[in-house]
Amino acid sequence: MKDKKIILVGVAIFVVVVTFPFWYNLGRSAPAPEVVLTPKAQAAEVCVMPTEFMKADHMKLLDVWRHDVVRNGNRIFVNPDGKAFEMSLSNTCLDCHSNTTEFCDRCHDYASVRPYCWDCHIENPKGE
């Protein structure tokens, strides 16, 4: 067929586009980011829920907390171990994890997640 050359160009474009992730990342390695725990977080050892749960579900928990506080006026969260916490991003979460750039942002940037927490909250309320 006389259009063979045009088809070859099209096929070449297809291959280049499909292999985009391979050549885009060529010569780079992108290991998962390391999160830094503040001394206070290390001393506490456990978060409000187990680490595995927090890794995947923290946004859901924060959403439930916000709903409970804002809509229901309930400020106390009791975890399955029976420990009570104040449901507050600024006073509970950021109390230990006061290093948002090294804790929150590293994974969020890696996964291209842009949470809107900081639209209202300040990142480090205690200025530590």
């Binding site: 088809i7 096929v11 297809f14 499909v18 992730p21 391979f22 992108a30 859901k60 709903h67 291209s112």
Partner: protein, 347 residues
Amino acid sequence: MNKNYMVSLIAVIVLFLIAYVGAAQGTGLQMVFGIIFPYLAILLFIVGFVRKVMGWARSPVPFQITTTCGQQKSMPWIKQAKIDNPSCTGGVVARMALEIFCLRSLFRNTRMKLKSGPHLTYQLEIFLWVAALAFHYAFFAVVVRHLRFFTEPIPCFVTLIENLDSFMRAEVIYDAIQVGVPGIYMSGLILLAAVTYLFLRRIFLPQVRYISQAADYFPLFLIMGIALSGIFMRYFSKVDVVSIKELIMGLVTFQPTIPEGISALFFAHLFLVCVLLMYFPNSKLMHFGGIFLSPTRNMAGNTREVRHVNPWNYPVKVHTYEEYEDDFRDKMIEAGLPVTKMPEEQA
């Protein structure tokens, strides 16, 4: 109940369960579903796709079979339909672009009906076109969005699509269905809705059901399964996204690893995508490549201007009348037969 779609549905469910149950067994099978199958799938996809297209490229086109959907180029006072019956490359490019980006052929979809009496009516059936357009663009957005797992740093066009695609909150029966914090992606929901429509269309329209094979239902169920598992992972049963990106980045930088703590649901999602990629070059899904090579669309409607020579034609040895006369002129004159060229004129 119809065996064509039941077979496809069962096939997709079994494929899902194989990966879901398998990945829960431990690292060994996770390597199979997380490393071996993805590499195999991308390889088979590219090689199969290129082979198929090059096969088409080798096939001769015996006839100029362009479809003429308007007035062909004719006398200067007759108005030509420049896009619907293009006579030059520019028109063909315009027609192909409309076909590829707007699925224009589907827009022409009509439904025949006998309306009260012997009058056959044709009515515009726009929903196939709407659903197909929604489906293809949503799928495209979903694929581009997923590049956030395949690139580091993430290119700006990916974040741009993400921003266009997402809106932040949807509170549906809020306490029962928690879909608040990760932004809602329109494309995922539109994709699922459109693919569901395309499936129901095959079930409920008798004429379409009659011509639907298992090979028509299987990709629909497969895409439904991929969309459902993806939506489920994002909004309901959360997964550890950072570990998943670590796995994917390992694959694309050729340093494969299986990080711990990845949910089996992710492996099932990935496996269904791998099946889709492997299935792609051997199925009707090749219309992705085929649309560019459809002779009814990509040829110019210039049959009266340019002679299309069948590439199969072998050179035929011809002996014209002039040559015949040259051979026998003297004998013809002797016999008193008329000749076109007299020998005296030659001299």
